[in-house]
């Protein structure tokens, strides 16, 4: 039993390599895009080594606070304004923060490459646009120029697409969009259509996106964002007529490796183990599911499924650290610490309180952690799914507890 539920690995495999390692046998053709961590050596955004504690984990806290606020019944909702400037809601920012995985796709005719973050917690797709009437932050590569695209059009104020925006306004007859993210980053500009190209042969004319004229905040060097939420504006919704209403991804195991984002069905979908996708009326654009239990080293934690189900569970590509109800996290932490008792612990790192110092060890043995879902689906986690490693002397269990059981 122990061999089946414990793994032994070399400690040096915990850290990403200094150079990019592309996965062999993977083609970026067709409806699949190459996914990289935006700060790693595989990124086209001139990789900058992340400062895990100060940047990534604090942004992750902001993102989770934003998600919790978004699902709070007290959240104010932005509405239409007839002013020439979109009024962004003061309280309700949708998530952004740590959506750290990027893909490159083509926009316009001829197509211009845009490296954008993708985020299942967002819906509106946007890129920075010339002439940057308000402001554009410095991005990698040229800012998209609508005047250089023969297929670009602004969307009119009276159109259905404009009416479906959460936050909108009009400048004359032209529709304005606005998005405020949970970390106070904002983008405002023209709602527009142009041809989006995933790959040769996979072009989507009339793709609706935001042509950002005033963009401020923590966007790094990306050109914009592609939302993969469930609203009509997301990439998956807009591509669904041709590719089907599905997408899948493999996130890179480390920041020095690559993954993929496939719009439409993938070969892997047939072999997957499934759990029902739930809709929560508090925000129908997010992806909810039922988490029923967690096991550590093959032993199911003594936590009632109702503990997970009272507040619900969502899956999000942009949140880094999995958040659990307090009692469930407490049980996970106890079981994990017991299984790792032979290794010296290290100080906590921001929200991560179960960390180990592996600097004097060549190999480690760790317990497999599995997440169990409604319908019998299981996600068995391996090394990259269990540890968050910023430094070999501070490798932390990559889970955290929510502040209260109702969060």
């Amino acid at each position: 039993g122990e061999e089946q539920f414990f793994r032994t690995v070399r400690v040096d495999t915990l850290l990403p390599a200094a150079v990019c390692s592309t996965r062999k046998g993977f083609s970026t053709g067709g409806n699949s895009l190459r996914v990289v961590h935006r700060r790693g050596p595989c990124s086209p955004l001139a990789g900058v080594k992340p400062n895990h504690a100060r940047t990534l984990l604090r942004q992750d806290v902001l993102r989770v606070e934003s998600l919790q606020r978004r699902l709070s019944r007290e959240a104010s909702v932005g509405g239409q304004t007839q002013a020439s400037e979109v009024a962004l809601p003061a309280q309700r920012g949708i998530t952004f923060g740590t959506a750290n995985y990027v893909v490159t796709l083509g926009l316009g005719t001829p197509g211009r490459d845009q490296t954008v973050v993708f985020d299942t917690g967002s819906n509106v797709c946007w890129v920075q646009c010339q002439p940057c009437v308000g402001s554009c932050y410095p991005q990698q590569g040229p800012v998209f120029d609508p005047a250089a695209s023969s297929t670009y059009s602004n969307v009119s104020c009276g159109s259905t697409a404009c009416g479906n925006l959460d936050v909108r306004g009009c400048s004359g007859t032209t529709c304005l969009y606005g998005v405020k993210y949970g970390d106070n980053s904002t983008t405002v500009g023209f709602l527009a259509t142009d041809t989006l190209t995933l790959a040769p042969g996979y072009a989507f004319p009339g793709f609706v996106f935001g042509c950002g004229q005033r963009n401020q905040g923590l966007f790094g060097k990306v050109a914009g964002l592609v939302g993969l939420g469930r609203s009509s504006f997301s990439l998956v919704s807009q591509a669904s007529q041709r590719l089907g209403k599905a997408f899948s991804y493999c996130l890179p195991a480390t920041s020095s490796s690559t993954g993929h984002l496939t719009i439409g069905e993938s070969a892997a979908s047939k072999a997957a183990s499934y759990t029902p996708m739930l809709t929560d009326p508090r925000d129908s654009s997010l992806y909810f599911l039922t988490l029923t239990g967690i096991s550590v080293g093959g032993q199911l934690l003594p936590v009632s499924p109702s503990v997970f189900q009272s507040a619900g569970t969502l899956i999000d590509s942009g949140t880094v650290i999995t958040r659990l109800p307090p009692s469930a996290y407490s049980a996970l932490r106890s079981a994990f610490r017991a299984a790792m008792a032979k290794y010296p612990m290290a100080p906590p790192r921001t929200l991560l309180d179960t960390c180990y110092d592996f600097s004097n060890t060549e190999t480690i043995s760790y317990p497999v952690v599995s997440l169990h879902f409604g319908g019998g689906a299981e996600l068995q986690l391996e090394l990259p799914g269990i540890f968050y490693v910023a430094d070999i002397s501070q490798a932390c269990l990559g889970f955290a507890g929510n502040g209260s059981p109702g969060d």
Binding site: A271, I315, A377, G398
Partner: protein
């Protein structure tokens, strides 16, 4: 809410079958 974050998603292909109303995990598909 509880949130399944991307550290835990790094070990499997995650499938969002919106038309079919289901989310899938394919453990060996990414290696």
């Amino acid at each position: 809410v509880g949130i399944i974050g991307n550290v835990q998603q790094r070990t499997a292909e995650v499938v969002y079958d919106i038309g079919g109303g289901r989310i899938g995990f394919s453990p060996k598909a990414c290696s």
